[in-house]
């Protein structure tokens, strides 16, 4: 099978499955019950239901559970007490588009999830920004 065909058929399978075409449902990505916090549900997107769990099961992989970042040959920036979070569009943009080596993890989240995780980080870890991001703000930046 040519790779181009593979891509087309994969898209077709996913589109059809998402439309509820039962004949192709078997070939959609497997959806598991997953962890209680929404992790390990499906491999193509994040299924964590709220900002706290998204942070814990996605962001903390690099920014660490305490949001204080880490240092090696380079570093992962601390999100705790981070003044760059003051403008709410900035973290939304970084989550959607990535930054340096950071992948655009927001591509695997809904607008609501991106808003939730940004709002969570901006109101925790010593950050006290009250102007919440809305899903529509995320959609506008995609």
């Amino acid at each position: 099978m040519k790779a181009e065909t593979l891509i087309r058929s994969s898209i077709a399978a996913v589109v059809a499955a998402s439309l509820g075409a039962s004949a192709l449902a078997q070939n959609a990505p497997t959806v598991f019950p997953g962890d209680a916090d929404g992790a390990f549900v499906v491999g193509t997107k994040f299924s964590e239901p709220d900002g706290a769990h998204l942070f814990k099961r996605v962001c903390a992989g690099c920014h660490m559970p305490d949001a204080k970042g880490a240092k090696g040959a380079g570093f992962f920036p601390a999100l705790a007490g981070n003044k760059k979070l003051a403008a709410n569009g900035y973290p939304v943009y970084v989550v959607l588009k990535g930054m340096n080596g950071m992948p655009p993890v927001g591509a695997m989240m809904t607008d609501q999830q991106v808003a939730d995780v940004v709002n969570y980080v901006r109101t925790n870890f010593g950050n006290k920004y009250r102007d919440a991001v809305k899903p529509a703000d995320v959609q506008a930046l995609r």
């Binding site: 593979l6 898209i11 497997t30 992790a39 996605v58 040959a73 340096n100 080596g101 591509a107």
Partner: protein, 530 residues
């Protein structure tokens, strides 16, 4: 949840999607079509002819890209020094074996408890024969190679959604899928349904070809019998003497095969960088690095963390810290070959042109996770006759790879118990290492029930927590490549970049090697030009 297959989806979304829908190997196939993986351009040993004019070159990073540059530039007469962050050479060309310790970002330290001779390669683990550059250096440097079982017809295809979660042998699905496709195509030919595309003369040839290709019977049917059993397996295998007579097995139905989704994995071994012959270095991938180390190890300064790269009309000055003593030091040279991963380089002060600077900041790094598991015995061989190769699964572990070495040995064996990407890799990485191991064990036991009673120990590497790469390898999209790739590779004043990120063979050592040769060739031409 949002539907990802929207018109606005990016190439990377698509790759992620395909990676999960169709398995990691299929993602590589798709990547090949998007120019993210390709056969090598290596054309034999590089010849840097002419005088080096006493010039000096500072190389940053002692992975394979940096080591190739060190070897070839020193051969050509350049004064070479290499700075390396780690306490060893090799970078991602890396092996974890008993006695090794690994500390990830965040501080978790794992001690590898594997028995003597067992190992995993957390990074690259295969050397395709079409990667002529790596093959060349392995031969030149005396790095012994052995076959890697990429496509084992006796390994499993597994889906939690098919066959009640019971793994199927690759040979069964492969044979039935191909057999039925052959039969259907044969029917179409016989009904002249393809007369637009196939002449009657060619149709006769095609029918004969399909019979052999699909293991069809004399009536062009894929049915229970000697022909199909010889591929998919027998209910009772042929033997010798009075118990010799074989009993063929019953093929699955076409519908069962199609609905199982297991056919997805069939195409994974046909791309250039997965075709047999494919190799691994005897004893682990680190032996590639050790081959280079024997030649140019004396040029490498270990434990050196680069903090600033500055160039002017006279040369390049690199500031670095000795990670053991904390000393702030400087190194100078006429030229610099920088092989640092872009995750790291994008965080270091460097004065380069705006176009190179933009390129350095434009490449995100793939998440990836590998888990090595050691068991008291090689039950996959002893109980299931699986000798090397890869089982693919829809579970978050994605695959199980059995060791392509020490077949039949009676002692403990180590297999690769997870190689995950996509959202699973992120979610795995957030867990403490021992929990990643526990999860891989739990999921893998659905395929091999022996896991639980035979388990000894394990080790887990989440690539975003690797302190010196902060990710697995660079991800290019068609758009980012069009905008930034050439800028990334250009000689910028006195600095040139190299590494897998500066190649069309991302994530493979061959990308690092061919990128390095290309970069030093241009650098040498520049020096020759004066």
């Amino acid at each position: 949840m949002e539907d990802f297959a929207t018109p606005g989806m990016t190439k990377r979304d698509l790759l992620t999607l395909i990676g999960r829908t169709a398995g990691a190997t299929a993602m590589y196939m798709a990547m090949a079509s998007l120019d993210q993986a390709a056969a090598s351009t290596f054309k034999g040993p590089v010849k840097l002819e002419g005088d080096a004019k006493g010039a000096s070159v500072l190389i940053l990073g002692a992975g394979v890209a940096g080591l190739v540059a060190a070897l070839e530039l020193s051969k050509a007469g350049y004064k070479v020094q290499v700075l390396e962050y780690n306490n060893r050479v090799g970078g991602r060309s890396w092996t974890l074996k008993g006695g090794d310790t690994y500390t990830e970002l965040g501080g978790a330290t794992q001690k590898c408890e594997f028995s003597e001779g067992n190992y995993i390669n957390p990074g690259p683990w295969r050397i395709p024969h079409t990667h002529y550059g790596v093959m060349h250096y392995c031969h030149e440097l005396g790095v012994a190679l052995e076959p890697f079982q990429q496509n084992n017809f006796g390994a499993y295809l597994h889906s939690t959604k098919a066959f009640g979660g019971k793994p199927q042998r690759y040979r069964t699905i492969h044979s039935d899928f191909q057999g039925y496709v052959g039969e259907l195509l044969g029917k179409a030919v016989k009904q002249n349904a393809l007369s637009d595309a196939v002449t009657s003369e060619d149709a006769a040839i095609l029918l004969e070809a399909l019979r052999g290709w699909g293991a069809l019977d004399k009536d062009m049917r894929y049915v229970k019998g000697r022909a199909s059993a010889d591929r998919r397996g027998w209910d009772k295998d042929p033997g010798g003497g009075l118990t010799a007579e074989p009993i063929p097995s019953e093929p699955l139905s076409l519908s069962t095969v199609l609905k199982s989704g297991l056919w997805r994995a069939i195409g994974g071994n046909v791309s250039l960088d997965h075709q047999q012959a494919i190799f691994q270095p005897v004893g682990g991938m680190e032996n590639v690095a050790k081959g280079f180390e024997r030649k140019v190890g004396n040029l490498v300064r270990l434990n050196s963390k680069v903090t600033k790269i500055h160039q002017d009309e006279k040369g390049v000055t690199v500031s670095y810290d000795d990670t053991k003593t904390g000393e702030h030091l400087m190194a100078q040279a006429d030229w610099c070959v920088c092989t640092l991963p872009l995750t790291i380089l994008s965080q270091i002060e460097i004065n380069v042109s705006p176009t190179l600077d933009a390129a350095i900041h434009a490449v995100p790094y793939l998440p990836g996770l590998k888990v090595g598991l050691e068991f008291k015995r090689r039950f996959w061989e002893q109980d299931e006759f699986i000798y090397g190769g890869i089982t693919s699964t829809d579970l978050p572990i994605s695959q199980i790879s059995y060791p392509s070495y020490k077949y039949g040995s009676r002692g403990p064996g180590v297999l690769l118990g997870a190689y995950s990407n996509g959202s699973y890799a992120y979610e795995f990485t957030t867990l403490p290492p021992e929990e990643r191991v526990a999860r891989a064990l739990e999921w893998g036991s659905q395929i091999h029930p022996q896991y639980k009673s035979e388990f000894m120990n394990g080790i887990a590497v989440g690539w975003h927590r690797v302190p010196w790469t902060q990710g697995c390898f660079g991800i290019w999209t068609e758009e980012s490549r069009a905008t930034h790739y050439k800028n990334l590779c250009q000689l910028d004043g006195r600095i040139v970049l190299a590494g897998e990120h500066a190649s069309f063979i991302g994530g493979w050592q061959e990308g690092g090697i061919t990128s390095s040769i290309d970069a030093i060739t241009r650098l040498h031409q520049r020096v020759q030009a004066g």
